[in-house]
Amino acid sequence: MGNAAMTVPATVRHLHVGPDFHAEQHIHPEPTSFLAKYIFSFDHKVIAKQFLWYGLFFLAMGGVMAMMIRWQIAYPGTAFPVLGQLMWPQSGGVMPPQSYAAFFTMHGTLMIFFAITPILIGAFGNLLIPLMIGARDMAFPTLNLLSFWTNVLAGLCMVVSFFVPMGAAAGGWQSYPTLSTLVGSPGHGQTLWVLGVFLTGSASIMGAVNYITTVVRLRAPGMGYFQMPLSVWGIWLTAILNALFVPVLAAGVLLLFLDRVFGSHFFLAGAAITKGGGDPVLYQHLFWIFGHPEVYILILPAWGIVSDLLSFFSRKPAFGYKATALSMSVICLLSMVVYGHHMFVVGMSPLLSQGFMTLTMLISIPSAVFFLNWLGTMWRGSIRFATPMLFSVGVVFVFGLGGLTGLHLGAISSDIYLHDSYFVIGHFHLTMAASVLLGAFAAIYFWFPKMFGKMMNETLGKWHFWLTIVPITVVFCGMLVVGYAGMQRRLYNYQAYDFLKHLHPINVWVTRAALLLGASQFLFVANFLSSMISGKKATENPWEVGTLEWTIPSPPPHHNYDEIPVVLHGPHEFNNPAVTGKDWLAQDEPIGDEPR
């Protein structure tokens, strides 16, 4: 622990804070009207809450759809309780095949773009960046407001698409042509999907430009990049990937839009046209050039948050802080050049495939670095098993599973067998869904006091954790097993295939676990709502940690910091031998007679 004191950068002691720095971040008076305060707010903390509610709404919606999909798999031909009768009275409550296809398509779309992205990037990006770097708000508050409301417009497109003739998009969440062209999906649902994705992409880019600029420009004096909490690192790297790769998706769906609405031929081929055919595989390239960075876009905030929380609750500085930050950065770079591993079965040149495989395997190295750092952080720590810590350890566990199963899909020989099977579904849900969701819960339990000024109930939180981690593991590991046994994804009734019939017991158990998982989320909803109304009042620093947001009241005042703090230490300054009476040190807290 002795070297913890060395993280204090020597230059900080002589830091001169010019008047310009404070002049830039004016203190604006708090708005008083309801509209300005809660609806069209420029305040990053309010926008964070808006994104949180928005994301939780779609999380519930996507979750219910997942339950219905699982119900159809385990109990085909039987009515889904209650909701089934309401939605499909003509079939006696049984989900028809077209709805099944629309549901797995929209489940993926909603969860990725409208649940995970708003919660982790929209809500926690907005909340944490200014608070953790000691800023009064985002660099561009108007852009922030615009980003949220553009996202709402996108969400509306998606919700409305369920109610147009022929229903919502049903060509899979990637919307590959030819399934997504007018030939495969003639209805307006797919067009609305394209519009919605374009709009939510624009919103993501607005947010990303804002986040990057805020981190680059508005860090409090003394806060170098390596004094930033790892949460900020994760969100910042995510923003960089968002800014650079969401435009590629935007280009892909733009061309799809032109094909659908103006009759162009970018992705049309074969009998569909008479002259100069396009290339459906082009869309796959565009989609995955974006799509692979996207999986890191989703997971990086969770990695960062977990890296911080593991340190906070182990009461130890993050093991290998710099190595964690740098390995996350290296993963960002590598993520830009591995997308081909999603297309091994498309028929690329073998040389190209092998290049992509090699680059993919390289990602294991930085991943192993930060994963071992997580374990090193906990090693021999004085661990406090509060709910946020439980969820963080949960992330370590499910991400370990997800990461290891990724190797089978990154290697060409095993991927060709496993491609489009439930093994893929199990793998990416463990990484993108389970890890990210558990990370989001860790973040909500941890920062709820700062957001709402109240503590969440610990007992309910712990029940919620155990009733989440057990079924979530069963669900996605079950999927790995049936996928390995050869069960393809997206089958409406897999029992039509003789060779899959013997998998029925596993599928039933996966569905039971999924239903339990869904049901146990009511514990979270109850805890969230009741704590907000009648939770124990939160102190300034209930978790006894040192990052800047815990040096100001809970919830923080409108302008966050009366005076911009001067940062003296790293974010995980635990057990500094020079500090007596407590085991943590705030980032802007001088030790003894240390000059400020």
Binding site: A139, T213, D259, D279
Partner: protein, 196 residues
Amino acid sequence: MSVAAAGFPATEESRRTSFVGMVMALASWTMLFVALFFSYAVLRLNAATWPPDGLAPLPKALPLLNTLVLLLSSCVLHRGTRPDAEEKPGALRRALLFTMLLGGLFLALQLAVWIPLWQHGFRIDNTGTYGSIFYGLTVFHALHVLAGLLALAVLLPGASAGRYASGRSSAVRSSAMFWHFVDVVWVVMFVAVYLV
């Protein structure tokens, strides 16, 4: 609105913040056009001949003229927004007006390229990937020119009132950066779509 905000002119700090933001936004935009050019490259490399299926090649003369128009507009705007332009009253306003005029001319000439082609049956929906690329890329670019024109138009009242006289306004610089960006994209597009 705020007491504090009214007291301060845009400081050098917030000017730099705007600059970083604009650079990131343009980096993002660059990736959008890179992806579109990538799509063009893939489709073209897959085609046996280009233009495919006996289609007539696109005209070159008007687009070349248009390239010069847009390049000239960037030069004019750059002269009007240079730091030494701040000494001369009305220089910015004149530059904005002249740039917008050239931008308008560019759009008019684009129409002069599109309309005859369309009338002669070269439409987006009957010319395969060749027409898709041509209309998709050039029209999407023209929408950006339109957006650039709007961004410049928003500056006009302030420029007329001499509000940006210090020559250090982030709004002026950001709009000019966007205009130059759209210009550079066009030069690449002209070479890629019409010449090679």
